[in-house]
Symmetry: C2
Subunit: 221 residues, 2 copies
């Protein structure tokens, strides 16, 4: 069976968890306190980050290459479209969320409020939290712009782009940092993705010291 | 003809330039002062970053998705191996350089010494420069570890992983921040890649106010 070394609220780990679950690959989850730089863990991944996936005798790190590998080694059900231009659009949006959204929103909200406390780095910097709360509005509006034109973020089929976005938003929703009233189309999109079987393990996550709000696991939020 | 909006010392732009040149795709280079947030440029790429590539009627941003698109749309000569596991290794190393190496080395050396001045953000922070100078040693040693076992970084053929690494190292070499005496195998690897026709335009780069050292364009450095 595959093993994923992860932390529950990491959007990068959640993207891999969603891909694995959607492809019905059985996987054991092992929580990894990566900031403690355990020697065994560093041997598995010299970059010292999660996710790390052990599967089919291989050990892999870096969420984007892992997801591309999963798509190639386990092509069905597919999370990438066929056409070259459509595949570019999926990868562009995965980068958008894992790079731009991550730096502007996730780092300013989730890492300030949760990761700092868990890893013993002190209190949230209120200036950063304020920046994150401003920036998420711009991103929700950009998602609205896309979803007004498409059924899913990258086109008419659900893809890895939707999982990348849902991974970030679900982690932020765990700390009540997503204003679902801002956009009906984004809320509808999240309701669709949240109700997939692949999402169940994510909705069951519990981080000690940070109980999720009631709406977090509610499919009718 | 294709057009690439770029800045000369950006490793992300250089990776795309190397891919284009290796695939013999003719491309006009347009320097983009992206930090001035020109309205036309933001229309081309709402993320406000370079590289932006106009090709075949499309406008694309984000260097990793651009390079995957180029590989799929212009497969020959190929910069990705065939096997699923080999492709993972290329993508892992591209992420390694564009994420870890970038944050630990390029940001601390190139951005401190050059980008800050060009974009009017003041003087280099000596603490960061010191960190970058320390960290590059670890990365050169990691490259030595790989190149002791393989002809190229990801295996026996030159791939996008070599271009990602060479893009960062060549930008740092422009400001004399690479100690080529640290590792013979890394120096030999760079000499091989530097002598490729695809590298010519990069060796001809000139940034006003920052003349390159004599060895920068010298194939026998």
């Amino acid at each position: 069976m595959a093993t994923l070394f992860h932390v529950p609220l990491s959007p990068f780990c959640r993207k891999v968890r969603l891909s694995l679950a959607e492809k019905r690959i059985e996987c054991q989850l092992v929580e990894e306190r990566y900031w403690e730089k355990d020697a065994d863990f560093l041997r598995r991944n010299p970059a010292g980050k999660v996710p790390v996936l052990k599967i089919d005798g291989k050990t892999m790190a870096e969420s984007a290459p892992i997801c591309e590998w999963l798509e190639e080694a386990y092509p069905e059900p597919s999370l990438m479209p066929r056409g070259t231009d459509d595949r570019y659009e999926v990868r562009r949006l995965v980068s958008w969320f894992d790079d731009k959204f991550h730096n502007e929103v996730t780092a300013n909200l989730l890492y300030e409020r949760v990761n700092k406390k868990i890893t013993g780095q002190g209190y949230p910097e209120s200036r950063n939290v304020k920046t994150g709360a401003q920036k998420i509005k711009f991103h929700l509006d950009y998602m609205t712009f896309l979803l007004d034109r498409r059924r899913w973020l990258a086109g008419d089929r659900m893809t890895l782009a939707d999982f990348a976005a849902a991974a970030h938003l679900s982690s932020l929703d765990y700390i009540s940092d997503v204003d679902w009233n801002r956009s009906d189309v984004v809320k509808d999109w999240y309701a669709k993705i949240k109700s997939r079987p692949a999402f169940r393990s994510i909705l069951a996550d519990q981080v000690p010291g940070f109980p999720p709000p009631a709406h977090y696991a509610d499919l009718d939020f």
